[in-house]
């Protein structure tokens, strides 16, 4: 019989790879040999939760190989302790920090800046405080040509009022910081700035040409800025998100970014419906999310879907869509997984005809069509055909009770999946035995 002592160090390494950070640290006290091996294969991904607040998933690393996926989070009560963790693992490749408040974050940031040299993925999300230029300066020494992803996420944007004469709070980092970030990271592929910053087009014009994903849901770029940012970079960019865009910006994006897979602009200000036809240039588009100010784009949508056959997610808000386009969506874009159409106007032209057609989409996961003129029966039929459907918003739909029953059944038989249902109901849903993986919103 073999004993563990006879196993070679290489074999032990392979076994230890499966352990989480916490388990590895505990195993170090088994014997000297184990301690030596464990210290050699130090963990390279860590997720640190300081205090706890609601998780933000919208900018989860989208790396296809999940090589930055943290196996477990270390929940820590203070930043001093977190700094010790970082000093223990200087070879970290990826760091995620989830923190409630940025006050007293300095020890953690200095630890990262002083010891880490291998970082490829850095992600910070917080609720309170400002990520100032000084804080950025502590962090920056850790970044170098290895750095690929920088994700900055403020989980709630707050409107702060200061009476005149009071001490102004420090302002968040701006163009100087972002410029030095770009200089240090010539291979940056992903930049997410979702939160209050002082970054503007002036800083973003130094964007390294390696950039592929550019998500800026809180920075307004004017015509000049967008020209500067896209100069030289447009062809590589695969994902872009902007808070708003006018016709010029939209035209620049659609004409120059030919490799675009994801386009998100919640406020697109264009006057003529035909302008959206620019989207037909984007043959690789998988995720389209735009908001238009009340335009009817039924005919244009048909042409767009005919060109962008790879579409997986279609999110349209405040624009008029009817059965005319939606009832043939399954033929034009058979890969559609998510359809969200928010149109609260009276003349919503989506009826049971579309619902019946959409039930041909085998991969449909989410369907949000509030205020459509549909019946509960067609929705139940859809539910029985689309087995992957787990998010449904049919506010304003009749015969809600049958839908609730159908989705409760589905949630019960699929306990590992979360379900979400929004609709209007006028009877106590609470009394129906609702499984914990289902949440129901409505009046």
């Amino acid at each position: 019989m073999a004993s563990i002592e006879k196993l070679s160090e290489e074999i032990l390494e392979k076994i230890f790879e499966h352990f989480t950070i916490r388990e590895k640290v505990l195993l170090e006290s088994v014997c000297k040999r184990w301690q030596r091996i464990l210290q050699r294969i130090a963990q390279n991904v860590v997720k640190i939760d300081i205090a706890c607040h609601e998780k933000i998933d919208s900018y989860k690393c989208k790396d296809s190989k999940h090589q930055y996926q943290a196996k477990d989070a270390i929940a820590i009560s203070d930043t001093q302790t977190a700094a010790k963790v970082i000093r223990r693992f200087p070879n970290l490749k990826a760091i995620y920090i989830n923190v409630d408040t940025l006050s007293k974050i300095e020890p953690l940031l200095s630890a990262i800046g002083e010891v880490c040299t291998q970082i490829e993925h850095f992600e910070i999300s917080f609720v309170f405080g400002k990520f100032t230029g000084q804080r950025m300066d502590l962090l920056l020494p850790a970044f170098n040509e290895k750095m690929k992803h920088f994700i900055f996420c403020e989980s709630r944007m707050k409107c702060e009022m200061y009476p005149p004469g009071s001490v102004q709070p420090p302002s968040p980092f701006g163009n100087e910081s972002i410029k030095s970030l770009f200089q240090r990271c010539p291979n940056l592929e992903m930049l997410v700035l979702n939160g209050s910053t002082c970054v503007s087009g002036d800083g973003l014009k130094y964007l390294p040409s390696s950039i592929k994903t550019l998500l800026l849901p809180s920075i307004w770029l004017n015509e000049n800025d967008i020209y500067n940012v896209l100069e030289g970079n447009a062809k590589q960019i695969e994902e872009i998100e902007l808070i708003a865009a006018g016709e010029y910006q939209f035209r620049e994006i659609c004409e120059k970014m030919t490799k675009l897979k994801s386009l998100q602009i919640p406020t697109l200000q264009i006057d003529a419906s035909d302008t959206v036809l620019l989207l037909t240039n984007l043959k690789h588009l998988e995720n389209l999310s735009i908001g238009l100010s009340g335009l009817n784009i039924d005919d244009q949508l048909i042409k767009i879907m005919r060109s962008c056959q790879k579409l997986k997610r279609l999110n349209l808000s405040s624009c008029a869509i009817s059965d005319k386009s939606l009832s043939i969506a399954h033929e034009l874009c058979p890969n559609l997984e998510i359809i969200e159409i928010y149109n609260y106007q009276e003349n919503n032209g989506i009826t049971d005809v579309s619902i019946a057609a959409l039930s041909n989409l085998k991969n449909l996961r989410e369907l949000c069509i509030p205020q459509a003129k549909i019946t509960g029966k067609s929705v139940c039929d859809l539910l029985s055909k689309c087995e992957k459907l787990n998010v449904l918003n049919v506010e304003g739909c009749g015969n809600a009770e049958a839908i609730v029953k159908a989705i409760i059944e589905r949630a019960k038989s699929n306990s590992s999946q979360n379900f979400n249902l929004s609709l209007n109901y006028d009877y106590p849903v609470e009394k129906m035995r609702k499984p914990s993986n289902l949440s129901i919103n409505g009046q």
Binding site: A2, I11, K14, I15, H18, S29, V30, C31, Q67, A75
Partner: protein
């Protein structure tokens, strides 16, 4: 019909069909360079009981496409596969006591049967998951060569561990 023989460390000989034997990368590579119908491999660190178990695994998986395509990935790629999922048949097959598992692990390593090797690692991980270092020491009968002072020093170094939840 061609057959490959394995000779174990305790002097037994097991005859195996060629299709099964080539699940082992060592055998496969050897036969590629020395085409022959008959040959004997001396496995001087694998005993009879272990080899029978390993051969049973090879027979079950000989037609699986992924065994064949499993190439020599770079270290980087390999280290990414840290999921603990495995084929249910394997999970059941490897329900053995720890020391026998270590034998199988050693054999799989020696005979270069990567999937079996990986799955043994996962199984050993699952067996020791959630146990304290003292329990693991007991489980693996590993000798502790730390002095009490050493242990205290390690405990101090990782006092943050106790404070995290």
């Amino acid at each position: 019909m061609s057959a490959i023989k394995f000779e174990t460390s305790d002097g037994f000989t097991i005859q195996v069909e060629r299709e099964t034997a080539v699940v082992s990368k060592v055998v496969k590579n050897f036969l590629e360079y020395h085409p022959t119908d008959k040959c004997t491999f001396h496995l001087n660190c694998v005993d009879n009981a272990t080899l029978r178990k390993v051969v049973e695994w090879m027979r079950h998986h000989k037609d699986d496409a992924y065994i064949e395509t499993e190439s020599d990935e770079s270290d980087e790629e390999r280290s990414q596969d840290v999921s603990i999922e495995m084929d249910p048949w394997d999970a059941n097959f490897l329900n053995e006591d720890l020391f026998f598992l270590l034998d199988i692990l050693n054999a799989a390593n020696f005979m270069k049967i990567k999937v079996l090797f990986k799955n043994c690692c996962k199984k050993i991980y699952l067996m020791s998951k959630g146990k304290s270092s003292v329990e693991i020491k007991r489980l693996l009968k590993e000798r502790c060569d730390f002095t009490d002072e050493d242990l205290q020093r390690i405990a101090n170094k990782y006092e943050w561990m106790a404070r995290v939840n």
